[in-house]
């Protein structure tokens, strides 16, 4: 355990939540929590984004929070504005959501839709259900994770999606910030990656559980992942990515990592565990600082987010606790 002097626990203040936290984000500097019951907490304000639904997926795009619900709605909410419904899938579940610079993609079982910044919506239907979506950083391209691989769809062309095959069920999808690598988490407790230049496969295995939290470092050279009793951080700097390299393991504890979030300016990763503990870990020397002690009754850390300066860390748990760390100046 970190020494008491390596503790930031005094700089954490609890936030009211009361409902499982699905996602956390800062919008124009305000801490925002997306709650399972369809509500958003924006600073002191409460906004009902999904009146009849639960929030299944959420992410920040620019200064708005996008949420997808089991009510079939894709909703965008800004810090002062009212929720704006971007799409209504008539009660079908929004399983995954992705966004980039005003464009939004979401999936409803096998159906994937992309809505550009001007509001034009395109549709593609996958052969099997889509569990994860990610925009590629360049061009108007959406990667969709599904059974037996990943498809890269070009919404503005009629061309068939480019298929990257790998046997098994693929869950979440993420693209490296430089656009060189696509990575999925898998049902089989592994990550799978593809180098886009030549579709070369990369297997990242050894997890005791599914990885459901993936976070890229600010320089795009590292990918922090949940699913093990440490935060497993894969190197993506070199042209071969993590191939033939061992990952770093940060914050080794006898508890599963459930959430990860890289600091926006430094090679420091915030790590949340099943028992509610949060650590900051510096990649260079593996130094650890305690942010929050274990509170098993509060549930597992389900959301972690830094503000754009990296001065504050917002977190929430799957049993409805939440808090804000303000780093001492």
């Amino acid at each position: 355990m970190p020494e008491p002097s390596n503790s930031l626990t005094e700089h954490v203040r609890p936030l009211a939540s009361g409902e499982p936290v699905v996602a956390a984000a800062f919008l124009d500097g305000e801490p925002v929590l997306a709650l399972a019951d369809g509500r958003l907490r924006i600073g002191e304000r409460e906004v009902v984004a999904h009146p009849e639904g639960a929030i299944l997926c959420a992410l920040k795009d620019g200064e708005r929070l996008l949420t997808g619900g089991d009510d079939g709605l894709v909703v965008a909410t800004t810090v002062n504005g009212e929720p704006e419904t971007l799409a209504d899938e008539k009660g079908k579940w929004i399983d995954a959501i992705a966004a980039r610079e005003g464009a939004v993609a979401w999936s409803v079982a096998k159906v994937v839709r992309a809505r550009d910044a001007k509001g034009a919506v395109k549709t593609w239907t996958s052969a099997t259900s889509v569990r994860g979506l990610a925009f590629l950083p360049k061009g108007y391209r959406v990667a969709a994770a599904h059974y037996n691989g990943l498809s890269i769809w070009f919404p503005n062309t009629e061309a068939a999606p480019q298929v990257l095959e790998w046997k098994g069920s693929h869950l979440d999808a993420t693209c490296s910030p430089d656009g060189r690598f696509l990575v999925t988490s898998m049902q089989e407790n592994a990550l799978h990656g593809w180098r886009l230049s030549d579709s070369r496969n990369m297997r990242m295995t050894g997890y005791p559980a599914k990885t459901r939290s993936l976070s890229w470092s600010h320089d795009g050279h590292w990918l922090a992942t949940s699913g093990a009793d440490a935060c497993v951080v894969w190197p993506f700097k070199d042209k071969d990515g993590p191939m033939g390299k061992a990952p770093r393991e940060c914050g080794v504890r006898p508890h599963r990592v459930t959430a990860t979030a890289f600091h926006p300016r430094a090679l420091v990763v915030a790590i949340g565990y099943t028992d509610g503990l949060i650590l900051l870990c510096r990649l260079g020397d593996a130094a650890e600082i305690l942010v929050r002690d274990a509170v098993p009754a509060d549930g597992a850390i389900s959301a972690l987010a830094w503000d754009s300066q990296g001065a504050r860390l917002l977190f929430g748990t799957d049993a409805g606790a939440a808090g804000l760390l303000v780093l001492p100046a």
Partner: protein, 341 residues
């Protein structure tokens, strides 16, 4: 499934061939004033006549786990849906999964063995099969799916008994027994069974494996207590059938088994014949162990644990049951016998 955490949501799987009356049973469950709230996962959206708050449309996406085991199929959509439903935790008491008429129940059941997240949040309660008293016998001849559903069941609702003669009813019951003598059978018209006989059965709880006897030793209209011939040929007034390819094989032994022989045998047997084995169950006495060891499984997947101490005066004995297709009966009997301590 072994640890019965009270906060795990029970999941009932409702199967049955096309037209047997699954929707009738589902509507009855949802409309009765039992005070329970159900999340219902259906495949034929809109069929439910009852206005239920939580009805989820499923795709019945069965896929193979990429783990080298060919019969290790799971329902991918179910993993996703159960994860999503947990966002509404506290808003419902139980989940009912209605499968399509042609579905194999195994992938549904296996999902609860394979996926750690599903396992942590939900527990498989029972597989309930609705069968049409008039047409089941024919379906058992021409539809392997119907046979699977009977073989897999913990509870069978033998429905529409008002349109068959007593002789036809006895016939279809005997056909069911030839395949699965262990399921609880309820005869019904318009699925008018006591809902308590369908839900919260805890059929997959290791804690609830009390004994493994053919169900007709327990039913009201028979009083054959304590009959155990160590095999499946119970007649008891029912006409006896052998199903051509689906059957149950049980083996029993007085005294202890050698754990160093039995565990490897059970693992090896289920790995080798997993594709044929639909369900298995056992209560065994292991040498040097004060506790009863219980296990149950689906295809190659096994789940077992020490259950409770043998009681003073309780006869230490071991019994295993396999239900499946073309089971190697001799191999089971000989292999099991060779495990004696």
């Amino acid at each position: 499934m072994s640890d019965v955490a009270t906060d795990k949501t029970p999941v009932t799987v409702l199967t049955g061939y096309l037209g047997a009356g699954k929707t009738t049973l589902l509507n009855r469950i949802l409309s009765e004033p039992h005070g329970k709230r159900y999340a219902v996962i259906v495949n034929e959206f809109g069929e439910i006549g009852i206005d239920n708050e939580l009805v989820v449309d499923a795709d019945e996406e069965v896929f193979e786990m990429n783990n080298g085991c060919i019969c290790c199929t799971v329902r991918g959509d179910l993993i996703r849906i159960i994860e999503g439903l947990m966002r509404r935790k506290g808003k419902f008491d139980a989940i009912i999964v209605e499968t399509t008429g042609l579905a194999d129940p195994a992938p549904v059941a296996q999902t609860f063995f394979v996926d750690e997240d599903v396992k942590a949040r939900a527990r498989l309660d029972a597989v309930v099969t609705v069968a049409d008293a008039k047409y089941l016998a024919a379906r058992l001849r021409d539809a392997p799916e119907a046979k699977n559903q009977i073989a897999f069941a913990d509870v069978i609702i033998l429905n529409k008994i008002d349109v068959v003669t007593p002789a036809e009813l006895a016939e279809v019951e005997a056909r069911i027994r030839a395949i699965n003598p262990y399921a609880k059978v309820h005869k019904a018209t318009k699925c008018d069974v006591d809902i308590a006989e369908v839900l919260d059965r805890r059929a997959f709880d290791l804690d609830r494996i009390l004994d493994i006897e053919p169900d007709f030793l327990h039913v009201d209209d028979h009083d054959h207590h304590g009959h155990d011939h160590g095999h499946d040929h119970h007649h008891h007034g029912l006409k006896h059938y052998h199903d051509e390819d689906m059957q149950s094989v049980s083996a029993r032994m007085d005294g202890d088994l050698d754990p160093n022989k039995f565990m490897p045998w059970l693992n090896q047997f289920t790995q080798t014949h997993g594709a044929k084995i639909l369900r298995c169950k056992g209560i065994v006495s292991l040498k040097g162990d004060d506790q009863r060891f219980v296990f149950q499984g689906v295809h190659m997947m096994l789940d077992g644990e020490p259950q409770r101490a043998w009681k003073t005066g309780e006869k230490r004995e071991s019994k295993v049951v396999f239900i499946g297709r073309d089971l190697p009966e001799d191999e089971i009997r000989k292999g099991f016998a060779a495990c004696a301590a």
